[in-house]
């Protein structure tokens, strides 16, 4: 611990704490534009400067550790003037385009300009005029709005280890782009959207599909149905001023009906179904040796994309089960349409996801058209849905909770925890235990699969079998796990794992790239907690006990891994070796 003074107030902090953090501890907010709590400081904006011992060189508080005996001043006339000028400089090189911007009302730069009371800018306008990159249909790059804070590059390289983005050129011409100045769609980008979730401005945002959704909703020919993913319910509240992690499932269903959806499904039902298929796959591989172990989860499209690009030798390890989103998609245009005598051609399926990559998933291969139509027509992010609710003039706070539509809306606690890292594994193990032993696991210690540790490794006992599992979240963490598997395979050693879960986003989908802005680890934990509480609240905690899952199998699919499930609920993977690092 060290002691120093900030604005005359003594502070005691751990050695290594930045001046910025230390000041926050005593309720002094030093303005900062490029620093993000998830990321190491890039020191790019220069707004956070402070004085030590009355002058000399200013220190960047975001990246300068507080040292014992320092006398920091965070605000005085000179600092205010410098900060304001730096902000004016940034604004002079930024389009004054808030009204047409993805981040309007939700932008760190805009907020800072408002906080500083900027009313006019005396400086010269320096325009950029760089074409946006909308090649991915998942995220848009709008370099004109980029303030070159470096967060996106930082997250893409250091957290995700994808290295899709980079700065090109120098000086005033510096711009953000896919590395190598190619289209993002042709780059290693896996569409996880973490860059957009960390961007302080509208320079990287989700590919907006709200207009297409509105059009469908107002089209009387169309029969619009919708599904919401687990992680959406515990995050959307942030857009409406609810406390962190509050579960708003019932209100969401109600709001979606108000928007005009004729049926409201829940992706958590799909998650239950994914568990059934995947746990069966696991049990068969484990017991009957029908395929190689470890089995690796495949419900995260960014992860699938990453694997197809960089680790295609892992394809045989991948669960062929489709993601929950895709399962609900295909069943809505087949089973649900049949049961309710709706022409699937007229159906318009919208998914609301915490995720930008799900936009990519819905057309990623022919298997996504298993119903004979495009199974899911549009995938929206949590952020887009929040905007639609506001635009529709729905008083979200005042809505009474509603129930989902049956069958494709009824879920168990196992399905809903899919949204948090470790959740897929936990849900699958609950059911795999049943499949292997014929009985439900008693109180199993699943705590070791929860939480934000980058790679969680544990062993679970199923009928005396030690099942070794690993859970990685944040793609950057996956290398460790995969290397271990590859090494054991190459050296013909004992398997390091039997079952592996990977989620591309830190924290899993609760921390997804399409979630409300401003994510921090604290928020990831709160959102996950909301899901675990939902699990507790449910009548069922095992996917195989979901009566509607049973019904779908009885009525329609037969049994897990049946021919029909294979046709509708499974997919194949293709190496895309075109991308090499």
């Amino acid at each position: 611990m060290i002691t120093a003074n900030i604005n005359g107030i003594p502070v005691h902090v751990r050695k290594g704490t930045s001046i910025l953090e230390a000041a926050r501890k005593i309720n002094i907010n030093i303005p900062a534009l490029c620093k993000h709590p998830d990321l190491d400081a890039t020191a790019a904006c220069g707004i956070c400067v402070v004085k030590n011992n009355g002058g000399g060189k200013l220190l960047r508080s975001c990246c300068t550790p507080l040292e014992a005996g320092m006398n920091i001043v965070t605000h005085d006339d000179e600092l205010q003037e410098i900060r304001k000028t730096v902000l004016e400089l940034i604004l002079s090189n930024h389009p004054e385009d808030c009204l047409q911007c993805a981040r309007n009302n939700n932008c760190e730069l805009q907020k800072m300009a408002a906080d500083f009371g900027i009313r006019s800018n005396p400086l010269h306008r320096i325009n950029k005029g760089i074409a946006p990159d909308i090649s991915t249909k998942s995220i848009n790059l709008v370099p004109d709005k980029c303030i070159l804070c470096g967060r996106c590059i930082n997250v893409c390289q250091n957290i995700q280890n994808v290295w899709a983005l980079s700065f090109l050129e120098r000086g005033i011409k510096t711009r953000i782009s896919a590395a190598g100045d190619i289209n993002l769609a042709d780059s290693p980008c896996i569409k996880c959207g973490q860059c957009s979730a960390h961007c302080p401005t509208g320079a990287i945002a989700e590919y907006d599909e709200t207009s297409r959704t509105w059009k469908a909703l107002y089209d009387t020919e169309k029969y619009c149905v919708v599904q919401i993913a687990p992680a959406v319910r515990v995050a959307i509240g942030e857009a409406f001023g609810y406390p962190e992690g509050e579960n708003l499932t019932g209100k969401l269903y109600a709001a979606l009906r108000k928007l005009g959806f004729k049926a409201v499904f829940d992706t958590s039902f799909g998650a239950d179904l994914t568990v059934m298929e995947e746990a069966t796959e696991f049990a068969q591989r484990f017991v009957n040796k029908t395929g190689p172990l470890p089995l690796i989860t495949s419900c995260c499209p960014s992860w699938v994309d990453f694997m197809e690009k960089y680790y295609s030798d892992m394809i045989e390890h991948f669960s062929t089960a489709k993601s929950p989103q895709s399962m609900v998609g295909v069943l809505s245009k087949t089973y649900y349409a049949q049961e309710n005598k709706i022409d699937p051609a007229k159906m318009f399926m919208v998914s609301v996801m915490p995720c930008t990559a799900k936009k990519y998933e819905i057309t990623r291969s022919e298997d996504m058209f298993a119903s004979g139509y495009q199974d899911i027509d549009v995938s929206l992010t949590t952020r887009e849905l929040a905007r639609m609710i506001k635009q529709a003039g729905i008083n979200f706070e005042g809505l009474p909770a509603e129930e989902p539509d049956h069958i494709l809306g009824d879920y168990t606690g196992a399905g809903v925890i899919f949204g948090a890292t470790g959740g897929v594994m936990e849900a699958a193990l609950r059911t795999a235990h049943f499949f292997v032993t014929g009985e439900n696991a008693g109180i199993m210690d699943f705590e070791s699969v929860r939480g934000l540790k980058g790679v969680k490794e544990t062993t679970v006992d199923i009928a005396g079998n030690k099942i070794k599992v690993a859970i990685a979240h944040g793609i950057g963490n996956v290398e460790y796990v995969l290397n271990k598997i590859q090494q054991a395979r190459d050296e013909k050693k004992e398997l390091p794992y039997h079952f592996v879960e990977v989620m591309a986003c830190p924290g899993g989908c609760v921390g997804g790239g399409g979630q409300p802005y401003g994510v921090t680890d604290r928020l990831r934990v709160s959102r996950a907690k909301g899901l675990y509480l939902d699990d507790i609240k449910q009548d069922y905690h095992y996917a195989h006990e979901n009566p509607y899952i049973k019904k779908v199998y009885d009525d329609f699919l037969g049994k897990p891994l049946s021919e029909k499930s294979h046709k509708l609920l499974h997919t194949v993977y293709t190496p895309r070796p075109l991308y090499r690092r």
Binding site: C45, E81, L89
Partner: protein, 576 residues
Amino acid sequence: MKLILLKDTDGKKEEAVFQEKILAEMKKENVQGKWQVVRVADMGIYNKGVAVKILPEGFTYTGLSLDDIPALVRTSIKEGRELGEKSYGLKDKQVKIVLRNCGRIDPENIESYLESGGYQGLKKVLLELKPEQAIEELKESGLRGRGGGGFPVWMKWQFARKPESAEKFIICNGDEGDPGAYMDRSVLEGDPHSVLEGMLTAGYLVGANKGYFYIRAEYPLAITRVQNAVEQARAYGLLGENILGSGFSFEVDIRLGAGAFVCGEETALIASVEGKRGYPSPRPPYPSVKGLWGKPTVINNVETLANIPVVFSRGGKWFSSIGSPTAKGTKVFALTGKIKNSGLVEVPMGITLREIIYDIGGGMLNSYDIKAVQTGGPSGGVISREYLDTPVDYENLQKLGSIMGSGGMIVIDESDCMVDLAKFYMNFCVDESCGKCAPCRIGTTQMLEYLDSVSKGKAREDDLPRLKKVAMAVKKASLCGLGQTSPNPVLSTLRYFEEEYLEHIREGKCRAGKCKDLLQYSILQDQCRKCGLCYRNCPVNAITGNNKQGYIIEREKCIKCGNCFDVCKFEAISRG
């Protein structure tokens, strides 16, 4: 024909006597026919008694008495050698420590370096002194970094010495990105071993076993010479395992600079050696604690390292006897601009600007008066002529709004426009800003916009406080030295020459005639012979009239190309 120039710089008009004496002596020596003795009006030397300059050799002597003439004629005219004691300028006030061997030894032969006392300093450090004693010696020498910052060398080494680390590194910064500077190149080319010796000494004292020469790719000869020096040193047991039996081992590698100015900044340089984009990063951590590959790293400039062998061979005490109270030893400057003798000069710290310019540089090149001196390279500042008697050291230059930088020194005269000058340097900074941090990236461009509008007469008076405000923010909030110093040209010209800015703004006038957009061309009717040459040569038909009534220039149409001015045979076009 050879020339002997003669002038009594005290104005006592004794040239005639001296001329006679010289001619007489030449007759005696029997060399009279080949030489012409010329009395000149100005030699750029003032108040130094009788001065003589011999061309083409360029020997210059001052303070001559008639008694000196026989020796002078014999040695310099007959034998073509310089006469030491009366020699003026370049010899006079320079002290050669860094450049001690340049031009004197064979840089490709280690023997030549050894003969001149090379590797004696290293030997002393390795075999005689305890490391603490050596650091103490360095401290006593008062040697500070010559790469711009002026950080005490002993302290930097001490910082890197302290932490326990299996790996540490020494980097020699030979990036020399400042366009006007070439002292590091001269040293690397002319005396590579002294830099290598400096690195070895650093390596031993810091506990590093690996060094990198980071040299600009545009310096192929320097690279070859360093490579050669490295090989020879290895052959002589001065590099590699167990150097001189001391148990100390050291290896070096050469890395080529990518060409960007900012890559000379230490953290950017390290990133570049690591194969990353050459962006600076925040300090702390300083490289001496966490540098190359995260390990303690000493990074020193070429000139700094070339001083090291001397510090140890002659002792810290001797070294500190040269220089000013806060800066010891010498500094090499690249002297240029409107000055007679351009070139590299090595002077003791604390010498005045006037001495450098007049005594060494030989004074002003043209008939214009000196206006200012620009020091510190593109992001340095100008110092007005009132301050010519300031002793040159880090602190003094900074107080005057400039910097030592890498040692550029450009003499500016009345024919230079300060706005134009600031614009020129700002252009450089705009081009060289790496773009990482907002204040520098956008601020330099904004400052350039303001300067541009002043130079075009489009600025308003209240733009000046804005320009200053931007300059201050860039200075204070930029991440690295480039941004922090980039406003110097603006702030320093505004400090000493604000009235020139105001002239541009208020009167639309550039007194030096450098800002093209402010020029007005008109025809002086009483001088015009109505020949119509200008009329026919104007590319935009801005000149109207005929050979009866004469011609006029329509200001709105004129694009200020200057064709009319150039073609008129009667000086009837005025420009101003």
